[in-house]
């Protein structure tokens, strides 16, 4: 097994009555990206705060580059870069001043921090805006600067907590390109996200977290395979027949079956292929259930998430056909 840069073993953390982490274990290998995927309140930020030494765990052990997060907190701070959920940059300082301040606090020399600020501004296409106060920046520019600030100290390990939450789709894709460039450079990265597409696109491995526990882990493909090779989707004409249709279709499925009342949709994990569609059609026709639409598709990570947790990746209250497009709905910048 490759060298683990982040190792988390049985970490627990509770706030007063709320158990935020109930025994989380995971590892991130050198020069790989782990996507920590989960809804609001799953415990992602708590884990990030523990790994970046902002919070002490109640139980368990975690190391970053061999340093213990509790005992060697100071050492960890000099080798990690952290970019938070909201852009933690100074509004009144210019972009350059922000970066130079961070450089100073990493104890770079005056010349080093000046050069480093310049490099980072250039890398994130902020050179022209570098001498303007951050309060004049757009949301995307702020995130870029925030991400840049986390790189000033040339960290061995980068931790990004929901780097694109609250951004519009276009800005999100733009930011992804910057993160992808970091990944290509071989940065070891832990990334938390509520967006399936983000984890799928940026991460080598994905850990699905819900209710303070890792409920599944693997590559995007592995997780998709867990659900079965394909997903059968049937839209019935009459929503009152939805449950009956589900009972018939259960016979074809391998994974869990899901119902969406509002869209009269039944989703079943299956082996796939035309045979399944034909069989499903036959079953339902014989049962006298009319079909509006029927088809087979490759499972998305959203299917995985739903089948693992019983609720959508967003927050559990809604099921959305394609959350890949609906990314801004939980924005809270």
């Amino acid at each position: 097994m490759a060298e683990a840069v982040i190792e988390v073993d049985g970490i627990e953390k509770s706030y007063k009555t709320n158990r935020a982490l109930a025994g989380v274990s995971l590892r991130v290998e050198r020069a790989t990206v782990l996507g920590l995927l989960g809804p609001n309140g799953a415990g992602k930020t708590t884990l990030v705060r523990i790994l970046s030494t902002l919070l002490k765990p109640d139980a368990g052990r975690a190391t970053v580059a061999g340093y213990d997060v509790v005992e060697d907190a100071e050492a960890i701070r000099s080798i990690i870069g952290l970019a938070g959920q909201y852009a933690a940059v100074d509004e009144l300082l210019t972009g350059r001043e922000n970066l130079e301040l961070v450089g100073r606090l990493y104890h770079l020399s005056r010349i080093e921090r000046r050069n480093r600020a310049e490099e980072v501004l250039e890398r994130f296409s902020l050179t022209n805006a570098g001498d303007r106060p951050v309060k004049t920046y757009s949301g995307g520019m702020r995130r870029r600067l925030d991400l840049g600030a986390s790189l000033v100290g040339r960290p061995e390990v980068l931790i990004l907590d929901e780097p694109t939450t609250g951004l519009d789709p276009r800005t999100r894709i733009e930011l992804w390109q910057y993160i992808e460039a970091l990944v290509r450079d071989g940065t070891t990265l832990l990334l938390t996200t509520q967006y399936l597409e983000e984890a799928d696109r940026l991460a080598h491995r994905i850990a699905v977290i819900d209710g303070g526990k890792v409920i599944a882990e693997g590559t995007g493909d592995e997780l998709k395979t867990q659900l079965g090779g394909a997903v059968l989707e049937v839209v019935v004409a009459d929503s009152r027949k939805l449950k009956e249709a589900a009972r018939w279709l259960e016979r074809l499925g391998e994974g869990r079956i899901r119902l969406d009342e509002t869209r009269r949709l039944v989703t079943v994990g299956t082996e796939g292929g035309a045979r399944v569609v034909v069989e499903a059609g036959q079953l339902l026709v014989e049962a006298g259930i009319e079909i509006d639409d029927i088809g087979v598709r490759r499972p998305s990570l959203d299917d995985v998430f739903l089948s693992l947790t019983g609720h959508a990746a967003g927050d559990g209250s809604e099921t959305e056909e394609n959350p890949k497009q609906g990314g801004t709905r939980h924005g809270r910048a």
């Binding site: 060298e3 683990a4 705060r49 970046s52 030494t53 902002l54 580059a65 061999g66 340093y67 060697d72 100071e74 050492a75 701070r77 000099s78 990690i80 952290l82 938070g84 959920q85 909201y86 852009a87 933690a88 940059v89 100074d90 509004e91 009144l92 300082l93 001043e97 301040l101 961070v102 100073r104 606090l105 990493y106 104890h107 106060p133 600030a149 100290g153």
Partner: protein, 267 residues
């Protein structure tokens, strides 16, 4: 894996101190930039004490009998201390704003000194406080205040004013880190200030208060410090006030610096 480099564990005491000072300079500079770039705030933090000077000098002053009879010389030392304390309260607001904005998280995840964020904040607030106190001096001169002490007495008096305010800004640092919300910090900061400033010898002689209040007003740190400053700048031989107020200032620092740093570490 064996940890190869720890920038910090290998540092000796002297190197740590010099890095800590560099951190404090960085944070102080950042906070001073804030002041320069929010000039309205600076202007308004000057207007409030000016209104107090005018209010007490011209509205209430005529009705207040003071020993020696020259109310403006009695009033201004009180105004200096009040200004200095109110200035200290801005430390609470500034810190809780940083907390809310998330920048304190960034600072806490950096390999910087754990007390530099607080020291940099209080030192920048001290700089502004000095500015506002100088402004009050100018306003004081315009409305008739004059120094009557020796040069040494006057200087010690003014140093006491800003030192006392600086000590209190550490109290407010602890308050700001506890309430974590700028609006609450604003109110929570002023709550202890009002009784301390008004139930003191700042505006009226303590003798005119009910006995039970006199007992409080005579011993509390604000009265003690105002009396010390007043004696110094009016050229009266200063009594035990001076060392009492020095001890208060020191005592507040000794208690509240560790308390605030502890709060910072355990946000």
């Amino acid at each position: 894996m064996v940890a190869p480099k720890s920038q910090h564990s290998s540092l000796n005491f002297g190197q740590r101190i010099s890095l800590g000072v560099s951190d404090i300079v960085g944070i102080t500079y950042r906070n001073l930039i804030h002041m320069v770039r929010t000039p309205q705030l600076l202007v308004f933090s000057g207007i409030q004490p000016i209104m107090f000077v005018l209010l007490f000098r011209y509205v209430f002053g005529g009705a207040i009998a003071t020993p020696g009879g020259n109310y403006v010389d009695y009033l201004l030392p009180g105004i200096f201390i009040q200004t200095s304390l109110f200035g200290g309260a801005s430390t609470a607001v500034g810190l809780s704003e940083d907390l809310k904005g998330g920048i304190i998280d960034r600072f806490r995840a950096l390999p910087m000194s754990r007390s530099a964020v607080l020291a940099g904040r209080t030192i920048a607030d001290l700089a502004r406080n000095i500015l506002v106190v100088v402004l009050m001096l100018l306003v004081g001169f315009l409305v008739g205040f004059r120094f009557h002490g020796s040069a040494a007495q006057n200087i010690v008096g003014m140093v006491l004013v800003v030192a006392f305010g600086y000590a209190f800004s550490w109290v407010f640092a602890a308050v700001g880190l506890m309430v974590k919300d700028p609006e609450t910090a604003q109110i929570a900061g002023f709550l202890p200030i009002f009784p301390l400033v008004f139930a003191s010898s700042a505006f009226v002689p303590v003798k005119t208060m009910p006995i039970w209040l006199q007992d409080f007003a005579n011993v509390q740190p604000v009265s003690v410090t105002i009396d010390a400053v007043r004696d110094l700048v009016t050229g009266v031989p200063v009594g035990s006030w001076l060392w009492q107020s020095g001890l208060w200032t020191l005592g507040i620092l000794v208690v509240f610096i560790p308390l605030a740093v502890y709060r910072y570490r355990h946000i």
